[in-house]
Symmetry: C2
Subunit: 249 residues, 2 copies
């Protein structure tokens, strides 16, 4: 099977690298950014082009959500499978007459960061069983964790990641505002943060909850509210309310 990867960003790079590490040949890298393409091409020993899209059985589009549709139009071939790598788009956003699919790796990518691809979950979807199997088998060569996933399901996957990653990072930002205000290095909190995250590798987060809200420690909750204002106060109230609802306090 001939595979062409379209794009030159973080996802394109890691996808190409994951295939290469498993000796799955990539026939071409195609994109606009020649500088990036040539770097990836050199590192992974894959040909690239900025103007002539190569022949393939499977095109994997690794570009940002808002460019997927536009980029998908450059594939004029009909007898081929095309996959995008977005967690939040239906496969129907692909705008050609080929067979449409989704090949979604659940990870945040940056070029400088080494990743253990076997641990990255892949969610795959195609329009028929045969294509589904092609993508499932391909992902299974890279990763131990492959699941079929409809667009409906991908929406929830993305939403879970927003809670568990995007919002978690924002809590770190708000926490740092508080420690900065007292000139306490935010670094001091990293061991506690690491421990908090390590814990949910071993037990369910619901069983691991600590803090004043789950203890219903009214003195502390009131004291803390007096120290906060604006968005941080809103977060404080909303999170405590949600904790107390979950534990029926």
């Amino acid at each position: 099977m001939q595979i062409v990867i379209i794009g030159s960003g973080n996802v394109a790079y890691h996808m190409a690298k994951a295939f290469t590490l498993k000796s799955i040949p990539v026939a071409q890298l195609f994109g606009r950014n020649e500088k990036e393409l040539s770097k990836i091409s050199e590192e992974l020993n894959i040909p690239y082009s900025t103007d002539h899209l190569g022949e393939a059985d499977l095109y994997i589009i690794c570009v940002s959500d808002h460019s997927v549709e536009e980029v998908s139009k450059i594939i004029t071939k009909k007898d081929c499978l095309v996959a995008h790598t977005s967690g939040s788009l239906p496969k129907e956003v692909l705008a050609g007459e080929y067979r449409k699919s989704s090949f979604y790796p659940l990870q945040t990518f940056s070029k400088s960061k080494e990743l253990d691809y076997e641990k990255i979950p892949f969610f795959v979807e195609a329009g028929n069983e045969e294509d589904q199997k092609i993508l499932f088998d391909l992902a299974s060569k890279i990763s131990e964790r492959v699941m079929k996933s409809s667009y409906e399901k991908r929406k929830y996957i993305h939403l879970t990641a927003v809670f568990a990653c995007n919002f978690v990072n924002h809590l770190f930002s708000r926490a740092k505002e508080i420690s900065d205000s007292q000139e306490i290095p935010f670094d001091y909190f990293l061991p506690l943060i690491d421990e908090t995250v390590q814990k949910i590798h071993e037990i369910e987060p619901k069983m691991a909850q600590t803090g004043p809200a789950v203890r219903n420690d009214v003195r502390i909750l009131q004291l803390h509210e007096q120290l906060l204002k604006d968005e941080s106060l809103e977060i404080y109230k909303t999170m405590n309310h949600s904790i107390q609802e979950m534990y029926e306090l």
Copy 2:
């Protein structure tokens, strides 16, 4: 300096262990729970008692917040220094005629979990410079990260930890509800979560923010709101509002 540790829980155990590892003798473990005391005593080779509080220059009270005051009354000696280990109590809660202080390790403890004590921040406070120095020097033998800290400051330290740990854990709980609803193993999100936390060891959380809110991706934000209800919807709106305020979107 004679040190006696009061308590038999997780904090007492790790405090005793941290001292022992640095060859700082602990004269006695004192508490009510003989079973726990005898286990710690055997492991660390420290005498214990449940009825006769030993003589000491420094008593460190390692009991839960609501018991600190009551427990502090058993120390009738006047010429000694007494510290509690709570992040959210003033030193004045200690109810004797001795010199009062606070010796606060910023970490979540469980007996079964090994910890790198050198990385655990200690916040110390005493009523005079001399006692302050005693506690500072003692903490510095255990840890690389020791700071003087008033009760005012400790309140903010605790609050930072609530945001960065307690609330983060609750987001994991709510995220798991979402993934459970779609029968997606929550384990699948652990590599992404680990990566999110690893990132803030390297860059400021504010610089690491990703997701639909910071991109102001209105399509996704609306789509997600339709998938949520009750507390999770409230969290979703509050967090996005706070993110957009922080980045002035």
